[in-house]
Assembly symmetry: D2
Homo-oligomer: 348 residues x 4
């Protein structure tokens, strides 16, 4: 931690900071300049934070020089992690395709979408039973009935299930069906929910807040990790900017940045970033090329009838191209598409 004293700071002000740091068991190194003095702090950052140094007389600025998260940081865990979902890995050696319908609507639509997903190379099935919607008048999902449909389709296709949970109260229920719990962009700072999934015993996919910094995203992951769950996959899904041609702006740079700061896998959601079907394939190629550990994609057998986000779902005609991308791009990065051979059996 570095304290920058204002030009009006007195010697007493500086003395006082040095004393406080000592009481917190730290050491303060004072650099006196012509117009300003800088104090470097060495010791326990948590204890320094409790001193509220920013509020002290003469202090102009306090700058943190280490990251505020620990368990998810790469500093003490240089090896990148692999998270297994129903036996299927998401990690640095492969590229994992997760696909399925935005919302579970009927058994038939879900099964058809799962089969489309599988044909394109997916090894995990996505599908929403609980949908967070901006409007209270929009379709909110089938709830537990949707979870049952998903479980049934897993039975038929062998694809483990990734599904969203929107309320701490529902975590136990959703976890009893799902292989991976998804936290959506509007809930990235719903700390009660983060703590609940941290205790649920299932891997978690944590979307980035649509206006969240990468640091805040990692702090949210830390909330989950702190409850004992390190099976977390980060998912970049576009951030909010002034541009209106796309629903959000996909921040591909977030992938290498987050992978350097954290050991957790990082994937991309090309469907919700742009919100336009014509962008899904170009953004999927960019996602794999930038080094994402996976992609999660909306597919729908009849997008014109979809109850949610139909306009961005890939249709049958696009899936051959998706399959080609997933097969041809990963090898250029020394990876392969995750397939059945990477999965490990899960004990019953």
């Amino acid at each position: 931690m570095v304290i920058v004293m204002g030009s009006e700071a007195t010697p007493d002000d500086i003395e006082s900071i040095v004393g406080l740091v000592a009481t917190a068991g730290g050491e303060a190194f004072v650099s006196r300049g012509v117009s300003r003095t800088i104090i470097g702090l060495v010791g326990d950052v948590e204890r320094f934070a409790a001193l509220n140094l920013r509020g002290k007389s003469g202090v102009a600025d306090v700058m943190r020089v280490s990251v505020p998260y620990k368990l998810v940081s790469r500093e003490n865990h240089p090896e990148r992690s692999t998270v297994r979902v129903g036996g299927v890995p998401i990690g640095p050696d492969t590229v994992t395709l997760i696909a399925g319908p935005c919302a579970v609507e009927t058994p038939r639509q879900t099964l058809e979408a799962a089969e489309m997903a599988k044909a394109a190379g997916a090894t995990l099935l996505r599908g929403g039973a609980f949908k967070p919607r901006t409007s209270p008048y929009a379709f909110q999902g089938l709830g537990e009935e949707g979870l049952r449909i998903l479980a049934d389709v897993r039975e038929k296709t062998g694809l483990p299930i990734v599904t969203e949970v929107v309320d701490a109260h529902d975590v136990e229920l959703v976890a009893s069906y799902a292989d991976m719990l998804q936290i959506g962009t509007r809930n990235t700072q719903n700390f009660a929910l983060l703590q609940a999934v941290g205790k649920a015993g299932k891997p978690v996919m944590l979307k980035r807040g649509m206006s969240g910094t990468i640091e805040e995203w990692l702090m949210s992951a830390e909330y989950i990790a702190q409850r004992g769950n390190l099976d977390i996959v980060l998912c970049e899904r576009g951030i909010r900017t002034f541009e209106t041609a796309t629903r959000n702006t996909l921040d591909v740079s977030a992938v290498p940045v987050a992978q350097r700061l954290s050991h957790l896998p990082v994937i991309i959601d090309p469907s919700h970033s742009g919100g336009r079907r014509d962008l899904v394939l170009p953004l999927t190629r960019a996602a794999v090329a930038v080094g994402a550990d996976g992609v999660i994609i909306d597919v729908h057998p009849h997008p014109e009838q979809a109850l949610c986000d139909g306009p961005q779902a890939l249709v049958n005609g696009d899936l051959r191209e998706l399959a080609r991308v997933m097969r041809q791009f990963p090898p250029l990065l020394g990876r392969t598409l995750t397939d059945a051979t990477h999965a490990v059996p899960v004990p019953a």
Copy 2:
């Protein structure tokens, strides 16, 4: 609703839209231009929305021409509303000052802060017992103990209490102590929590999401209203932009815009917008001058010891100036500072 057909749209595409609109009980007015055709829709927007017209062949764009919220809209409720909190009004005739500590820490700190608030003209006491914090390692609030302290200080000062609730699970508990439930910026789209406070039988203060549009904010209010609770006060608290000199950018324009779109009262939080003590008084003046129905301000007897947001709390020296602002500015807008004479007794 207006449908803009793409230049590649065929007569059959247009025909098909007209037919669909008819099946939904609406009428379609077709305007054929040289390069494009426009279809104006008249009828029930909800039913049109369910048609997924955006996904149909030939459709280039779908433009909504009415607002997506109803209960909180001013269209059918031209009179601006007044919300009463423990008898104290927040509405178009007065300017209400809400003040208190960011976090409840001790009985003494809370009482001192409440007395400072009262001396400055406050008629409502703010104070957090449950604190949503970006870091899991930061002080998270005293919980129910904090609520008891608040209730005790209300007893002593007569100030009704505004306090935050962060988890749907805690709504009943918090509502049993509080006079008004506050929804923080990170929970503005926590729909489970919105629905829970909608049923809690207490007025709600709904902060704007730090990256939420005004329309999304009103949609979130609609979630609360839909459960039967129209005692909602909107609170602008700064939005996230590229500027780093302030914690957030206070959007004063949001006050007249939201007051024009909705009948609900709109207040401003000058403390959390800038995150700097030196900005609180200038932003408070701007808030009253732009037409806010109230302001909510952090005060702390000893900000250098505060466990939360100390650097932005007003101290004793600033409070005389705050009192002057609250007394002198409202009359220029034909209002008065809310005081004891505006409160109505609340039946026990």
Copy 3:
């Protein structure tokens, strides 16, 4: 300047930094921590900047602790400045109203607008002869003919003229007519233009870039100041955010922040911020209340016929209210509306 070394930095890396700093005539104070080392630099920042320390081996971050502008900084010039435009002051003791048409269209429209402006309390006339327009197909201004109209209206009303210059090539021409040169938001980082107005011998109004930070704005002012011209007035006019209900988001906090960092006067443009007539008066009140040294407002005798930004121009009916605001609000801040008594005669 503070250098933060990465956890992988070697003793040689640190040694090397210390040596470089010494060659630049500075001193380096090394604070060794458990996981990181911090080096505080004292000396000439310009010379340190030339060392490219950020690129050196072992360096994780370089943090500047002093502002990068000098002439416009308040550090060495604690007194706030007053700028005189044709004798009329813009500064800390008064609030100056600048008003007039967005674009000069005809002699009659300009004269009528000037008379409206004067009646509302304006002591300076704004009006554009050269208009920067996003579309090459939009009205680009009357050019020199517009300047002649403005000069003629100045003759008739006694109001000094503020007008925009968009091309370094035109600075001499515009300066031969204008009393103050305006730099628009799209040209805030047009450094050739800034340097040209720096040499033109006329006061300059520098709008903030619509996506510029306050620091960048002050750096742009420094470009002008560096050419010997310190008669600069900063003008906040809204920044670009994700919100679409307003054209831009007026950042009122920028006024106290810029006034604290710089000695230059700071005014607000409430017309172009919101881009909506119904917001102009509320934002004007907020501008004066937050402490702006002036406001600049669009007025038009017949806004429905305006060739530019008609929808945001105040009309006759609003001007009485504007006059009242300009008369009643400044005294609450210990100021008065700038009027004829504040002007000093300008030698011919």
Copy 4:
């Protein structure tokens, strides 16, 4: 164009709009709804724009349904264009690598950087002689001396030159040396400069404004095209957002969006987007994969001594990897890296 009437609009208001549209030679189709009326306009949009319909009584909103640019639009020019720079193509069939130093510093540094660029597969040389810098105290480029160095290096390496022009006054000079004129992000709305390069008879690379929408970018291209120059290459270089881990946020989606709206080639600048060396290669891979027609990259023989943007320049060790990416990725998109065989001789 579609006019949405407010709920308070009278039959006379509607009548009046219909009449105005007729006087402008257009047709108005009126759709009367229960609470609102919509008027679809068919005819000449330019003439409608001149009516200022938004300011008329009863009008709530005016929505444009066609794009405001023409010459650069893909609507009337469905084939994507190829622009040739000194014979080297930038277009849909190849991927062109442009590389070189951010700033020209010495003959030797420039020649070494050009040789590095060529070895990595570059067929065009970038290098700045005029540098727009936020600070007036930063290195501003060598000016004409830099242009002479570039011309000399072109002679030695055979690489045509891309270089920035920052002042309309310098366009002729820069054009007398350069093969392609670059317009930087701070000048994207410097309309005087756009018009000057439009007449200069050389291809132009137009960077996107750092806070510019895609539509504004295309409007800026229209300014150039309007002066008779359609040899324009669009360059995405990152936009300004709230994220601070990267200098800007690279908006890869802008490539397919702009390619769909315009026939002009679109390239990406991965160096200036992130501002970090470790991001250049991942972002280059993403750029090629998303479908960019080229990339422009900073290389420097000794980045630790660079006078400008050293921290983001690729060094020798990275260039083999860059060469591999440029060779292996384009074929997956049915393209090849632009090489000598694609160049056509330029008549002397």
